[in-house]
């Protein structure tokens, strides 16, 4: 009895023992950093590397005046607090993710710069806050985000639902802008790296060397800030900052003929130590077998563990290297993960993603044209709807009565259309549609436009290069082949918890199409003075003729007495002996 009671007490104390200690430690350290690198070989032989750095901070940035920033960067924290930002997503991308050949990306971004922000309901002037926000971000990331103004900002109604905690979604608090002409370079990478707690000195960030990262087919760096539930009961709010960087190394240019990859080959560096501030630091390598029997890849050194998960509807196997486990670094101080192909890639077994799209400009000449979008649903028996968001600048005047959507030869009427026509020099066109894609079909969407002639000062420095039209956004819940279990955000890898999942039968995908390059007719830039003179001359001809006719009257001409010329002529005639005039 007393022994049992003492044992019970002991057990309770032991259970509670680490508790206060942990709580003490928790009170001191309310933020946590997890780093992750996902290496996925792509069907075409290229390799995609996705870095994710997630800082989670159990503080309420909106309410309390927070002054002590530890892992969460102060620049972004103060931005969120001061401007009433609820969610912020900024992506800077160079290149295009070729969904058809590379598969569905974990997180895709359109070419150029993309910024979408949900503001808190307490913000009264959202446009003012948006302008300030884009200017501040432009300074933080050294990108020309200050070019975001009303001519390229839209308010989508259905496409960009909040990815974090949200109660009530008044879409007037959302702003979305894309700058397709924006170029990403080392200047943008450096401030992005500076926001990481360990910088680029320790942990996975040591691999981020600019000269290798930009020598790639696709480079996308993004910052995502959103509020999340602090725990399962969701009584308090934590803030999550995810910094993601996706890069695709091109087999042909950097593989040098051999398809075997290694960290050193890709990044010209190896992993040497872990970031001391990170609570978790892992490298995942996708070694899923393409067909059930044979393995495709061999990785060395041997991984610390193997993780299986259903990601984007497919069962996948990952080799996991936990950098915090002591066994990894005991032989050498560097970790160079190497991937060797066991058998040559067969192009016939390239899997086609369930949803992919492409977009192009049709027509000829500089007067009219049409934007054609092709959306492919390759699922054999399931149909699903997709939301298409198109933002077209005002100088391509869309004609919505020419919008045609054709699937399998028949017209396909969208169940929801939101169209906001453009106003010259003030806002762009916004077209959002919910289209049902039948199983195993191609849907072609065409809309005609007219090209406007702009004022000569509105053309960019190289006017004949053309004007960029930002990528259109496709958002869909794609039915998955394998049922997916609910994931616990804290336990599962970061790349599986990016998008909230409602149920296990479908997964959320956001795809972007190609940006378009469209030429506009140009005036002659060397001619302003000449044009002004010539047009005013024509007006003056009219004025002059009418002035003459209105103010003068007809008179009979009087003979002139003789001017100087006539008198001189008469003098010469007198010399010649000819009668005078």
């Amino acid at each position: 009895g007393r022994m049992a009671a003492a044992l019970l007490l002991l057990r309770l104390l032991l259970a509670a023992g680490p508790g206060p200690g942990r709580a003490d430690a928790g009170r001191e350290r309310r933020d946590a950093l997890r780093e992750e690198l996902l290496l996925s070989p792509l069907p075409t032989g290229d390799v995609a590397a996705t870095f994710q750095f997630r800082t989670r901070w159990d503080a309420d940035l909106q309410r309390g005046a927070v002054s002590h920033y530890r892992l969460f960067p102060k620049a972004l924290g103060r931005l969120v607090a001061a401007l009433g930002v609820r969610e912020l997503h900024l992506a800077l991308t160079q290149g295009f993710w070729r969904t058809r050949y590379w598969g569905q990306p974990p997180l895709q971004a359109p070419a150029g710069a993309e910024l979408w922000v949900w503001f808190q309901p307490t913000v009264t002037d959202v446009d003012k806050a948006w302008k300030e926000l884009s200017n501040i971000l432009s300074g933080i990331f050294c990108a020309s985000l200050n070019f975001i103004d009303s001519t390229n900002t839209v308010i989508p109604t259905a496409s960009f639902k909040p990815l974090g905690l949200a109660n009530g979604t008044d879409h007037h608090l959302l702003r979305y802008a894309v700058l397709p002409r924006e170029v990403v370079c080392t200047e943008n990478l450096t401030p992005w790296k500076k926001l990481l707690p360990c910088g680029s000195k320790a942990g996975l960030a040591v691999l981020l060397k600019a000269e290798r990262l930009f020598h790639s087919s696709y480079h996308s760096q993004a910052v995502h800030i959103r509020p999340i539930c602090r725990d399962a009961s969701c009584l308090a709010v934590s803030w999550e900052l995810r910094q993601t960087l996706t890069v695709v190394f091109d087999f042909f240019s950097s593989g040098q003929g051999k398809k075997d990859w290694s960290l050193f080959k890709m990044f010209s560096r190896t992993l040497t130590d872990t970031c001391p501030l990170a609570s978790q630091s892992k490298v995942y390598v996708d070694i899923s077998p393409k067909n059930k029997e044979k393995e495709l890849l061999e990785v060395s050194p041997p991984p610390t563990s193997v993780h299986e998960a259903v990601v984007q509807g497919d069962k996948k196997t990952y080799a996991v290297y936990d950098l915090l486990s002591p066994s990894l670094f005991n032989t050498s101080r560097s970790l160079n993960v190497q991937l060797k192909w066991k058998r040559p890639q067969d192009s016939s077994e390239m899997p086609i993603p369930t949803l992919h799209a492409q977009r192009y400009v049709g027509g000829y000449g500089l007067q009219t044209g049409q934007i054609c979008t092709l959306i492919y649903n390759t699922h054999p028996y399931r149909a699903f709807p997709v939301i298409l968001l198109e933002t077209v600048p005002w100088y391509l005047r869309l004609y919505v009565h020419t919008l045609t959507i054709i699937t399998k030869g028949k017209e396909n009427k969208p169940s929801y259309i939101h169209y906001q026509p453009a106003q010259d020099r003030r806002r762009p066109h916004l077209l959002e549609m919910l289209i049902q894609l039948p199983a195993n079909s191609v849907t072609k969407i065409t809309i005609q436009f007219e090209r406007a002639l702009l004022k000569w000062t509105e053309y960019p420095p190289d006017p004949n290069h053309g004007f960029y039209v930002g990528s259109s956004v496709l958002s869909a819940l794609v039915p998955s082949v394998t049922a997916m279990k609910d994931v616990d955000v804290e336990q599962s890898p970061l790349f599986t918890s990016l998008f909230p999942s409602s149920d296990g039968s479908s997964y959320f995908v956001r795809l972007y199409t190609e940006p378009l390059l469209v030429n506009l007719p140009t005036p002659d830039f060397s001619m302003p003075y000449n044009v002004i003179c010539l047009t005013c001359t024509v007006v003056a001809v009219c004025y002059g003729s009418f002035y003459n006719l209105l103010t003068r009257t007809f008179h009979v001409e009087e003979p002139s007495r003789g001017g100087l010329a006539k008198r001189l002529a008469n003098v010469i005639r007198k010399f010649r002996g000819v009668p005078p005039l």
């Binding site: 906001q420 002639l453 010539l534 009418f546 007809f554 009979v556």
Partner: protein
């Protein structure tokens, strides 16, 4: 007279119907010379499609037609081709009837002036006889219906035809002497495209002449009649604008229609002078030059009214031409309207100085417009300056044509009062100069 008119109408309808069915219809509808941002058919269809989607047509920058056009085509969209053909035919019939009446007025006035001995004795060959004037109304209808400009304007379904229709009925009402109908049609024309406001002056002068009210600034009856006519006009205009408000329950159409006409934000090329000028304008002076160009249309009215107060119909012709040349988005349909009046002044032919060159300029420019457009936009071997040059030449041709007719008119008036064979003080033949 009815039978030849019916024949002309049938020929015109046949030509239009044939073109509607041919493949040229699409090509013509896209031409910028025929369809401007104000009156293109594609934009009318777009506006109706936006209305179907639940978006106000005036929320974007595509649709610049008045709400009454929405009313009209909401019900008649299926019969659009028929509507435009009937509009053209009615315009021609209205012009025919108007010129017929006008000829009677001219003849009566001429007879009165001859009896009052206002004319010089040797001007017999300048007097218009009923035989000469017999075929003029038919020629006017012919000139309007079979003018290539009118035909392609109709095939393109440009709402300029509706504009011309309202102005033609306004002219008919004015010449028939009905002040009320004249005011109503003038209000409709002004509501549709702002510039017919300037036709108020010639209409007023004609109606005053018809009522035998002398045009003196001190006369009470002059001011009374002017106030009556002006109030009729303004009231009809206000009623029409209020009716338009009730269509979409908003005043959005005012900046979209009138703000657009006056501020010229859309620089799509057309046959006028505005587009390239404002494409190449320094931003700082943009507002100033917009004001100057708009004032240019309205500013000839008062001087012309003073000079041509005895001849209000010629004044109306010159004013129509000035509107067609200097409006912000001119099309060939506007040019066709004033060209329809040229047969009325066919007796001035002997005094025209440059008619051959000017007609050649106008014809060549009409052919060169599509060629240089193709070279700029499709072939890429020319640039915008080529098209701009043809625009300038075409407008100079039109301006010189009108001033030539004006000169001929004034010269004939001088000869009528001073005699055809002028001699100088010493008996030798004299020359006339403008001094």
């Amino acid at each position: 007279m009815a039978a030849p008119l019916v024949l002309v109408v049938l020929a015109a309808v046949t030509v239009r119907a044939a073109l509607y069915r041919s493949s040229l219809a699409v090509f013509i509808a896209e031409r910028v010379e025929v369809a401007s941002p104000l009156n293109a058919w594609k934009r009318v269809v777009e506006g109706l499609a936006l209305l179907d989607l639940g978006v106000s047509p005036y929320s974007g920058a595509i649709f610049h037609e008045t709400p009454l056009i929405i009313y009209l085509f909401h019900f008649l969209i299926e019969y659009a081709e028929l509507v435009f053909m009937i509009t053209d035919v009615l315009t021609a019939v209205a012009l025919y009837l108007a010129i017929q009446d006008f000829n009677k007025v001219v003849f009566k006035k001429q007879k009165l002036l001859i009896e009052l001995d206002k004319y010089a004795p040797d001007v017999a060959e300048l007097i218009q006889t009923p035989m000469d004037m017999h075929y003029i109304p038919l020629k006017v209808a012919l000139f309007y219906l079979l003018n290539p400009y009118t035909v392609i304007s109709c095939v393109a379904k440009s709402t300029c035809a509706i504009n011309n229709f309202v102005i033609a009925f306004f002219i008919l009402a004015t010449i028939k002497g009905s002040a009320f109908l004249s005011a109503v049609f003038l209000a409709l024309a002004t509501y549709q495209s702002l510039y017919p406001l300037t036709l108020f002056a010639p209409a007023l002068l004609y109606l005053l002449q018809r009522q035998f009210i002398p045009i003196k600034l001190k006369s009470k009856s002059f001011w009374l009649y002017t106030m009556q006519y002006a109030s009729l006009y303004l009231c009809s205009l206000v009623v029409i604008i209020c009716l338009s408000f009730f269509l979409l329950n908003s005043w959005d159409f005012i900046p979209s229609v009138y703000g657009f006409i006056l501020s010229v934000p859309d620089l799509t090329p057309n046959i006028g002078l505005f587009w390239y000028f404002f494409a190449e304008m320094f931003e700082h002076f943009s507002l100033f030059f917009v004001c100057v160009f708009q004032i240019n249309v309205f500013f000839y009215t008062i001087p012309l009214a003073i000079k041509l107060k005895e001849h209000p119909v010629f004044f109306m012709f010159v004013q129509l031409a000035i509107i067609s040349i200097f409006k912000s988005y001119p099309t060939v349909g506007d040019v066709a309207l004033y060209m329809a009046f040229l047969p009325v002044w066919s007796h001035l032919y002997r005094f025209l100085r440059n008619i051959f060159i000017l007609s050649c300029v106008l014809i060549f420019c009409s052919f060169l417009f599509p060629v240089l457009w193709h070279l700029w936009i499709y072939a890429g071997s020319a640039n915008s300056n080529f098209y701009y040059a043809i625009t300038l030449t075409f407008n100079i041709g039109q301006i010189l044509l009108i001033s030539d007719y004006f000169y001929a008119f004034l010269r004939r008036e001088y000869y009528l009062t001073h005699g055809l064979h002028l001699t100088r003080q010493d008996g030798t033949e004299a020359m006339l100069v403008l001094k």
